[in-house]
C-alpha cells in the first residue's frame, strides 16, 4: 500500500487536534474472565444480543450470551493483551462487513478486512453479517440454469440460480474441486462468486487462490478466508460474512454463486464456542440451535422476484462425511435444508472415475426446470440408462452368461461412465456437453472403444469448433435441438469418427 507522506501527516494532525478534545465517554463494562476466545464481562446492561463490543487492545467482540449481571462475549481475533479488569465498551452497532464491487478480486477475513496485499478496500457500504432471509413474497421459483461446466452435474443433477445444492462426500473425494470448477465456469457469464474457506489449511486456500488468479476467475470472485489457525469465532462468522457480501449483489439484481467450504468445520467451530459459553450440549455435543445455525444461513440463498430486482444467490455448501456416513448428524441436517445433494464417493474416486459423483444418491430437487430444453431432452433417458446399468453391473459381476440386449446395456453404461469423466479445472461449456451427450444417447459412440472415448470427445469438439461453429452458436442461441440441427450434428460425428481410428 502506498501512503503519501502528507496523507500520514494530515491524519496525525487531525488526531492531535482531536486529542485536545474532551475524553471519550462510552458505556463500558469490565472483563471478569478471559480465555479460549471467550470473555465474561460484568456490566454493559444495555448490550444487545449480537452487538459489537470493543476491548482495550482494539479487538472487537460479539455479545452472544446476555445474563443477569454479566454477558458472554466472543472475541473476534486475538485475546492477547486483554486482562481481567480491563474496560469493554459498547459500540452500538452489529457486526458488519464492507460490501460492493470493491470486494471483487479481494481476499478478506471474516471481519471483511483485507488479508491480501492490495491495500485498503474501497467499500460501497457496510452490511450486517446477520440479516433476515428474503420473504416468500420477495422470491420466485428457480428456473434458470446455473452451469457448473461439469457434465455429470449439468446433465444429471442440474443446479438452478437461487438453489442450494449440497456437495457431500468423504475427505479427498473432490468436493472443493467441484466448487472451484463451478466458479471457474462462471467466467464471462455475469455471475459473481464468493468462496468462503472455513477452517481450511492455509496451504490449500493459497493453492485455490492461485488457481483462481491464473484462470482469471479472481476478477469476479471474493475469497472470505478463515484458516484452521484463526480463532474459532472467526471461523464461525466467516460464512455469514461471505453471505452478506453476496447478498448485497443479489439485492442489486445480480446473479451470485457462493461456495461454503465446509460447513462441517463450521459446525465444529460453533460447537466449541457454544460449549465455552456454557450453553447446554445436545447430540454429539452440538448445541440445540445447530440446525437453526445452518438453516438461517442457507435460507438467505434466493431467487428474487422481478419486483425486488430479480437477483439470485446460489449456495453450494460443502459437507465432509466420515467413512461415507451421510446419515450422521450434521450431514442429515444440511441435506434436509438444501434443495438436493451431490454425493461424492471414495470408491468411485479411487477407481479413477472423476468427478466421483454417485448419480444414484445425488439429487436435485429443482431438477429439470433449471435445464435448457436440449439438455433436458438428452439427460432424461441418461439417468434411467445409468440406473439400469448399475443394477445389471451388480448382477453381471457373478460371471453369468448375458444376452445381447443385456451386454449392450452394460456397454452403453460403461460409455456413460466414461463420458461423464472430466478433468479438474476444465469446465465444459453447455453446448459442448450437449454435443457429446447427443452422440452418447443416440448410440453414435457404440463403435468406439471405451478407453478411446475421451480422445474422441476432444477430437469431435475440436472438429465442430473448426468446421461447423454454427452448430454451437445455434445451441447457445435457441437452447433446443431441432431436427435440422440433429442431422448436422450426426454428420459432424460421422466425419469426426473418420479422423482417427478409435476402434
Amino acid at each position: 500500500m502506498h501512503i503519501k507522506p502528507d496523507e500520514i501527516t494530515s491524519v496525525i494532525k487531525q488526531q492531535i487536534k482531536s486529542y485536545s478534545a474532551k475524553p471519550d465517554f462510552a458505556e463500558a463494562g469490565v472483563v471478569i474472565q478471559i480465555g479460549d476466545g471467550i470473555a465474561r464481562v460484568y456490566g454493559l446492561t444495555s448490550a444487545m444480543s449480537g452487538e459489537l463490543v470493543k476491548f482495550s487492545n482494539g479487538t472487537y467482540g460479539i455479545a452472544l450470551n446476555l445474563e443477569e449481571d454479566s454477558i458472554g462475549v466472543v472475541v473476534m481475533g486475538s485475546d492477547a493483551g486483554i486482562k481481567e479488569g480491563d474496560p469493554v465498551r459498547l459500540s452500538g452497532r452489529m457486526a458488519e462487513v464492507p460490501v460492493g464491487d470493491g470486494m471483487l478480486g479481494r481476499v478478506v477475513n471474516a471481519l471483511g478486512e483485507p488479508v491480501d496485499d492490495q491495500g485498503a478496500i474501497r467499500a460501497e457500504g457496510y452490511r450486517p453479517i446477520e440479516s433476515p432471509a428474503p420473504t416468500v413474497i420477495m422470491r420466485r421459483e428457480v428456473n434458470q440454469p446455473l452451469q457448473t461446466g461439469i457434465k455429470a452435474i449439468d446433465a444429471l443433477v442440474p443446479i438452478g440460480k437461487g438453489q442450494r445444492e449440497l456437495i457431500i462426500g468423504d475427505r479427498e473425494t473432490g468436493k472443493t474441486a467441484i466448487g472451484i470448477d463451478a466458479i471457474l465456469n462462471q467466467k464471462g457469464r455475469d455471475v459473481l462468486c464468493v468462496y468462503v474457506a472455513i477452517g481450511q489449511k492455509a496451504s490449500t486456500v493459497a493453492r485455490i487462490i492461485r488457481v483462481l488468479r491464473e484462470t482469471g476467475a479472481m476478477a469476479y470472485t471474493t475469497v472470505v478466508l478463515s484458516t484452521a489457525s484463526d480463532p474459532t469465532s472467526l471461523q464461525y462468522f466467516a460464512p455469514f460474512a461471505g453471505c452478506a457480501i453476496a447478498e448485497e449483489w443479489m439485492h442489486q439484481g445480480r446473479d451470485v454463486l457462493i461456495v461454503y467450504d465446509d460447513l462441517s468445520k463450521h459446525a465444529v467451530a460453533y460447537r466449541a464456542i457454544s460449549l465455552l459459553l456454557r450453553r447446554p450440549p445436545g447430540r454429539e455435543a452440538y448445541p440445540g440451535d445447530i440446525f437453526y445455525l445452518h438453516s438461517r444461513l442457507l435460507e438467505r440463498a434466493a431467487c428474487m422476484s422481478r419486483e425486488y430486482g430479480g437477483g439470485t444467490l446460489t449456495a453450494l455448501p460443502i459437507v465432509e462425511t466420515q467413512a461415507g456416513d451421510i446419515s450422521a448428524y450434521i450431514p442429515t441436517n444440511i441435506i434436509s435444508i438444501t434443495d438436493g445433494q451431490i454425493y461424492l464417493e471414495a470408491d468411485l474416486f479411487n477407481h479413477g472415475f472423476r468427478p466421483a459423483i454417485n448419480p444414484g444418491l445425488s439429487v436435485s430437487r429443482v431438477g429439470g426446470s433449471a435445464q435448457i430444453p436440449a439438455m433436458k431432452q438428452l439427460a432424461g433417458p441418461l439417468r434411467i440408462e445409468f440406473a439400469q446399468y448399475n443394477e445389471l453391473a451388480v448382477f453381471a459381476q457373478f460371471g453369468v452368461e448375458l444376452d445381447q440386449n443385456t451386454s449392450d446395456r452394460l456397454r452403453h453404461g460403461e460409455q456413460i461412465m466414461e463420458v461423464l469423466k472430466q478433468r479438474q479445472y476444465r469446465p465444459m461449456p453447455v453446448e459442448d456437453q450437449i454435443l457429446i451427450l447427443f452422440a452418447l444417447s443416440n448410440k453414435h459412440l457404440a463403435g468406439i472403444k471405451t478407453r478411446h472415448l475421451l480422445r474422441f470427445q476432444k477430437d469431435f469438439l475440436n472438429y465442430v469448433e473448426e468446421n461447423a461453429p454454427h452448430i454451437k452458436e445455434e445451441i447457445r442461441r435457441s437452447g433446443e435441438l431441432s431436427d435440422g440441427l440433429a442431422q448436422q450434428i450426426e454428420a459432424a460425428i460421422a466425419q469426426a469418427k473418420e479422423l482417427c481410428d478409435y476402434i
Binding site: 491524519v11 475524553p23 471519550d24 459489537l52 470493543k54 449481571d69 493483551g81 465498551r89 491495500g119 474501497r122
Partner: protein
C-alpha cells in the same frame, strides 16, 4: 432470579435505615470487609471441619468493641446459615448501595504512572459533575495504557489514554481514511 447476596444486603440496608446511622454502619462494614478480605481468614471460615461455634467465637472476639448495631448479629447469622462465603459479597453489595443512597459512587482511575493527589482530585471533581454524585476514588496502575488515564464509573468509561487514541488512529488508517465506521 434474585441473588442471595442481594437479599442479605437488602436486609442490612433496611436495618440501617431503621437505625438512622448510615455513616457509622458504613464505616463498620468497611472495617469488617477489610479485616476479612484475606485468604487465610477466608480459608478458616470456609473449612467445613471447623465447628460453627469456633468460627462464631472468632468473629465475635475479633470485632468485639469495634462494631455495634446489627453487624455482629449479621455475622452470627451468616455462620449459622452456612453462608460464610457470602459475607464479603454481601458487604460489598451493601456498601455500594448504601453509598449510592448517600449520593456517592465509586470511580476507578487507571493510569500508566501514579497520579498525584491533586490530579486525582481534579479528575474526580470533573467526573463528579458528569455523574452528579460524590466520587470515592480508587486508583490502579496499568502500563498498558501507555499514557493518560481512563475512569470507570457507573458502568461507563471516560477514556483519555494514549492506547485508545492510537487505536482510533489505527482503525482510521485501516479503513482508508474514513471516519464513517469508526467507533468511539
Amino acid at each position: 432470579m434474585a441473588k442471595i447476596e442481594n437479599r442479605y444486603a437488602n436486609a442490612l440496608l433496611e436495618l440501617t435505615a431503621e437505625n438512622g446511622s448510615p455513616e457509622k454502619d458504613l464505616a463498620q462494614a468497611a472495617l469488617v470487609y477489610e479485616a476479612l478480605d484475606n485468604p487465610e481468614t477466608g480459608a478458616f471460615l470456609a473449612d467445613p471441619q471447623i465447628p460453627k461455634r469456633e468460627k462464631d467465637a472468632l468473629l465475635q472476639k475479633a470485632f468485639s468493641g469495634l462494631i455495634g448495631g446489627h453487624l455482629p448479629g449479621f455475622l452470627q447469622l451468616m455462620v449459622r446459615k452456612n453462608r460464610v462465603g457470602l459475607i464479603l459479597p454481601v458487604l460489598s453489595e451493601y456498601m455500594i448501595r448504601q453509598n449510592r443512597r448517600l449520593g456517592r459512587t465509586e470511580a476507578k482511575i487507571v493510569s500508566a504512572t501514579p497520579l498525584s493527589p491533586q490530579q486525582i482530585d481534579a479528575i474526580s471533581s470533573v467526573i463528579a459533575k458528569q455523574v452528579n454524585m460524590q466520587i470515592l476514588t480508587k486508583t490502579a496502575i496499568d502500563p498498558d495504557v501507555i499514557g493518560g488515564f481512563y475512569v470507570l464509573v457507573e458502568g461507563r468509561v471516560f477514556d483519555a489514554t494514549i492506547r485508545h487514541k492510537l487505536d482510533g488512529l489505527r482503525e482510521y488508517l485501516r479503513k482508508g481514511g474514513s471516519y464513517a465506521h469508526q467507533t468511539g
